[in-house]
Amino acid sequence: MSQEQIDKAITREYSAGFTTMIESETFPPGLSEDVVRALSAKKNEPEWMLEWRLEAFRIWSEMADPDWAHVNYPPVNFQEISYYSSPKSMEEKRPKSLDEVDPELLETYEKLGIPLHEQAALAGVAVDVVFDSVSVATTFREKLAEAGVLFCSISEAVQEYPELIRKYLGTVVPRKDNFYAALNSAVFSDGSFVYIPKGVRCPMELSTYFRINEANTGQFERTLIVADEGSHVSYLEGCTAPMRDENQLHAAVVELVALDNAEIKYSTVQNWYPGDDEGKGGIYNFVTKRGLAHTNAKISWTQVETGSAITWKYPSCILRGDNSVGEFYSVALTNNMQQADTGTKMIHLGKNTRSTIISKGISAGKSSNAYRGLVRMGPRAEGARNYTQCDSLLIGDKCAAHTFPYIESKNPSAVVEHEATTSKVSEDQLYLCLQRGLDEEKAVSMIVNGFCKEVFKELPMEFAVEAGKLLEVSLEGSVG
């Protein structure tokens, strides 16, 4: 590839970068115990929830920003961020149905390709949409309720299912787990809650769409999914934000609990605003995602990460129960000045636990893309198995690709296999495609898609198509 070709391909358009002109009620910037109290009051939370937040805030106040990831950014000033923002129309009167939702909001989601009216919605996908700090709407609730599935915003769940929240919140990601998890625990604003009862196979895909709109606002969503014994659920998550010159913080926590014989499939297509080609603006995506698998349970993470200025994210599985299974399939694409440090942890505690890690990193432009993983075989993990494959693809000679896999084994019958390779889009491959009449961009996008195939096939159909397109857009101009 010539430099010119590369440059051309790397120039990208961020189509979700528009701002919704809407009146919002936003907290003034700053973080203190009072802000936590105000936020809790705003949500009319019970005392126990407030106490839980305040304890998290105290823990956070004593922690330091982590510095071990392979990313560079100026220190985040947590006093310059606003910790709550909500569309005014939502503040005044919470809409009872979609008909009451502000048309501006509905239009925002239409533009993002997520129609909220059930008749127009994707068949078989129920959506919870989160706009800045609040959940705007959740579709198909009645239909899900028939199957006994609870799907609502976490704020509602605190009010309506306090026993479930109290039982599971913070059990997979404790408040003191890390700096950003502690911060999230103190100030999480909204997010989704899912409960699948015993033996139920969730009749449709569940999905949450996160949108940051307001400037200088952090988004701290919290998702909790509990799959009771023998149940099954597939959950999708999508994210976008407007183009702004300032960096915005997104520090989410996702907790999955798969009880005995349950299965949770969690898919993410992350397309937060990545900043411009000089690295101005973009989302700081500092996320803690973790699942706990009980006996014979299975947790599968699939992620396609193309956005964010900085990604710091390690969806993990604690394989506590015997025979439990963890999977991590990831495509992380960085372009321009983006930096990603992402990967997974597979903690094998139970016997005969199995994990598979397939990670595909694509670096273009001047970006930096690191896989960081931990596979730990505990002393009790007899017969446990892990297979890890990390492949990096470099496009252009200004980018970087790194692999930092930690392997710790304390069991002689456990087997761990890790392989990593690095390659580039070769001139020969391109030449062949061009000779067969494809244009450069198409050729590269085809090669990259081929490189990611193993991961894409894990995505639900609607998402797989979107992911492919997203990759194409993200690579625009990066190729030759």
Partner: protein, 426 residues
């Protein structure tokens, strides 16, 4: 300054021209902190055994152990002190071999110019300690186009005595253009009072070839923190083999800097542990220039309640296009209490490169076990044979037959004390 920092510094006489090195090392060492488990490079290795007062070794008795003969010249150091006289050696034209303390002015100048030049002092704490405690060392220089064919076998023994003492070992090898040499570092001893800090610097001129072997067969209570720092000039070739039998504390940092295009490095190693032993290998291959290649293979077997660490880093700098680098690390745990922590790392800043690494922690291959058993070999012996084969593959690739013969029984004995199970291996 902490007890730890203080306790490891020893006073010793040193030639005046080494003062700069000593002072600089001393200053850096005194400014450092004792690494903890939170220090990434020391995440899995505890230094608590070094938290006591160490002395300089006193006068020594010549060692009496029978030593293997690998051919070529053999020099024996006991507690860091050379037994015998270098000036009596018959060396080929163009080969200089001198102790720092005996160096004449011209040699001192050559040594001072090179010493420490390939060590990144910011990253290697114990290299600073070595500088600080530097009183002597060995300098081997092979002039351009000269071949030192027969091996130079350096035996480093520590003696059994109290109180705790530290042996500060230093070797500087400089090969001129197209020079060739063959250097064997061979560490012995089992004293729980002996702490060896051994730094080896290898400077390979353009087109030169160095065969380097570092056999750390110290056992028991021996403590060794070592560093091998190599700089490879254009088209030079380093073949470096490492072996560590476990002991109370063993840590070796191996750094290879590809500094000239076309250089090649073969880096292989074995670690073999039992009891509560610990071995930690940190390797780092720096590809700073284009067209260099690296092949690295490390294998380890951990038995009983031993623990091993392997951290293998390959760093491709932005200009190092057309690099090919491959790393493989395979491990075998043979006991429920043993532990391995391995991290193969790739850090890549150039696109036209071929890099791959693989790491496994695995069991013996069931197919192989079955095959042996259908031939009548019982399971216990089959397991020992296969474990042996797993590491011996690297030993059998060594060209020096005497060294292979020396290592075979060591490996077998380390795998099991039951001689019935090793009788077909030795």
């Amino acid at each position: 300054m902490s007890e730890f920092i203080n306790g490891l510094l020893v006073a010793a006489d040193a030639p005046a021209w080494l003062a700069n090195h000593r002072d600089a090392g001393s200053a850096r060492w005194r400014d450092s902190q004792k690494p903890t488990r939170k220090t990434e490079a020391w995440k899995y290795t505890s230094l608590h055994l070094l938290e006591r007062d160490f002395a300089a070794p006193g006068p020594v008795e010549p060692g009496t152990d029978a030593l293997p003969d690998f051919g070529g010249l053999k020099l024996v150091f006991v507690d860091g002190q050379l037994q015998g006289d270098l000036s009596a050696l018959a060396l080929p034209e163009g080969v200089q071999l001198v102790q720092f303390a005996d160096a004449d002015a011209a040699q001192a100048e050559q040594i001072a110019a090179r010493l420490g030049s390939v060590v990144d002092a910011d990253k290697h704490l114990f290299a600073n300690l070595n500088d600080a405690n530097l009183s002597d060392g060995l300098f081997l220089q092979v002039a351009a186009n000269v071949r030192l064919e027969s091996p130079l076998h350096l035996v480093y023994q520590t003696s059994e005595r109290e109180p705790a003492f530290t042996v500060n070992q230093r070797l500087l090898v400089v090969l001129g253009e197209h020079a060739e040499a063959n250097v064997i570092e061979h560490f012995l001893g089992a004293s729980p009072a002996a702490f060896t800090n051994g730094i080896t610097e290898l400077v390979l001129g353009a087109g030169s070839r160095l065969r380097h072997r570092r056999l750390q067969v110290e056992s028991g209570g021996a403590m060794h923190i070592g560093g091998v720092h190599a700089e490879l000039g254009r088209d030079s070739h380093l073949d470096s083999f490492h072996l560590a039998l476990g002991s109370e504390l063993k840590r070796v940092d191996i750094v290879v800097n590809h500094a000239g295009p076309g250089a090649h490095c073969d880096l292989n190693g074995i670690y073999l542990l039992r009891g509560s032993e610990h071995v930690d290998y940190h390797t780092c291959i720096e590809h700073a220039v284009p067209h260099c290649t690296t092949d690295e293979v490390f294998r380890g077997i951990m038995g009983d309640s031993s623990s091993a660490v392997f951290n293998g880093r390959i760093h491709i700098h932005p200009d190092a296009q057309k690099t090919r680098a491959e790393l493989s690390n395979k491990n075998l745990l043979t006991s429920t209490d043993a532990e391995i922590n391995t991290k193969p790392e790739l850090e890549i800043y150039a696109d036209d490169v071929q890099c791959a690494h693989g790491a496994t922690v695995a069991q013996l291959d069931e197919g192989m076990l079955h095959y042996l058993r259908t031939r009548g070999v019982d399971r216990a012996e089959a397991e020992v044979m296969l474990s042996y084969g797993f590491i011996n593959e690297l030993v059998d690739a060594l060209e020096n037959e005497a060294m292979r013969d020396y290592l075979h029984p060591l490996l077998a004995e380390r795998l099991t004390r039951d001689t019935r199970l090793t009788r077909h291996l030795v």
